[in-house]
Each structure stands twice: as C-alpha cells, then as structure tokens.
Symmetry: C2
Subunit: 149 residues, 2 copies
Amino acid sequence: MLTDQYFMLEALKEAQKAFDAGEVPVGAVVVCDDRIIARAHNLTERLTDVTAHAEMQAITAAANYLGGKYLDQCVMYVTLEPCVMCAGAIAWAQLGSLVYGANDDKKGFSRYASNILHPKTLIKKGLESEASVKLLQSFFHLKRALQQF
Amino acid sequence: MLTDQYFMLEALKEAQKAFDAGEVPVGAVVVCDDRIIARAHNLTERLTDVTAHAEMQAITAAANYLGGKYLDQCVMYVTLEPCVMCAGAIAWAQLGSLVYGANDDKKGFSRYASNILHPKTLIKKGLESEASVKLLQSFFHLKRALQQF
C-alpha cells in the first residue's frame, strides 16, 4: 500500500511540470485502488482557458479512464487547496477523498463556503504544503523579476 | 441592437438540444459586440464528464474564439442559474455580464455564497425563466416515467 505522501509527491511532480511551462504551478493526481489513473497540471495559459486547472483535467481524465462520471472510489491529491470552480467539480464527481497541500487563503473554496464539497468526501490537508508553497513562491518571484525587464 | 430576450431564446434552443439528447436541458450562449461567439449545451452524460456543463463549454469556446482568457467584454445567457463550479469559472473569466433564466434553489451558486462571481460582473436573472423551468420539469417527468418501465 503506497502512502499519501508518495502520491502527493507525484502531484508535486505535476506542479513542477506546470512551473517549467510557465504556468502557475499546481498539480494533481487521481488514485483508485492504489494506482494513479489520472495526472494533470495547470494549463490555463497554454490552452488560453480559465477552466484548465489541474483538478478539472484530472477529473475529466479519471472519469474517462473509469468509464463513469463518479469518482467516489477515488482519492485526489492536489498540491494547492482547490478553488470554488474545482471544488464544485469535485462535488459533482462525488470524490471519495480529497488530499491537498497548501491552503489558498485568497482563492481556496473554504474561504467562500464550507459546504461546497459532497458531504461524503473525506478531506485531509497540509500534506507537503511547504514544498507546494515554495514552488508557488518561486514562480511568482520569477514572474515579478521577469516583468521588470 | 438585439435584445436580451433574443439571446436567451437562443440559449433555450441550446437547452432543447440537450433535452433531445437525453441530457439535463440547460443551454448557454456567449455574446460579444451583439454577436453570438459561443453556444453550448449540457453534455455530462454523453461525455461521461461532470465538468461538461453548458457554461463551462461556452467559456472555453468563447475564449478560444477571442484568443484570450478573459470575457470581460462579453455577456453570457444561460437558461438556469449556474452551479458553484460554473460560477467559479465565470469568476475566473471575469465575465462582463451574466443573464440567467430560472433560479436553481438546490444547486445554484447563490445558495452557497453570494461573493463567488467577480465583483464587476453584472447580473440579471429571471429572463424567460418559465420556459426554462417547463423544459426542466418535462425532462425530469419523462425521466421518472421511463424509469418505471
């Protein structure tokens, strides 16, 4: 049985891919029966699409893999607290468990309403949050530095 | 200058397409400079994807048409109050105006939090709501009737 930490590190690898592509570095994986069935990272810039968050793509990919809309037997690992849009999608998917890294004090769903997720979805937070925050801080630091030139 | 009612009737045509395809009948159009630049209807069943709401597809299509992520110069007409997921996407897109038909007392975003949308997005509601509700009621009535066989 693989650990939550193992899967969160896989989500962080996805976040790193976003970073390398100049995207806000957020990554996600969906796990079912101890196997990763979907992995995704933020692609909003490349796709010119605000809906292309890591979680949204991971939900679509996982449902496609399973051949069914509902992810009640799955765990999603995501490096940052989902926004309202992604939390709403996670609720529609009736996700079994959500494990996220860093809190998002500005755009995280919990700032808006605590009852957005499906009542049966288990939540665990704070896993590898330091690594997630460091990656995000590096990204925005670099972005600001580049804007000065 | 075409009227709000004209565009909402176009959104209702999209909802009818969803109905005909056995999908929960919700339709949307995005208008920019008095022209429809995107139209979509709910496809969650056909695509086996909870994220395939009319609004989400309309946002993706409109951004693709414009070549930019932000829809601040656009109006979205949607036959039903957006859910939390769609309202979150509408907020990210910084939509100029949102016009919706029927309220959704169960899943509408305003039941969860009033501050999900971007503060600059203008909201108008109740347009052609009766037609929207009738279509939804017919859909669920038919669905229940078919389940008895």
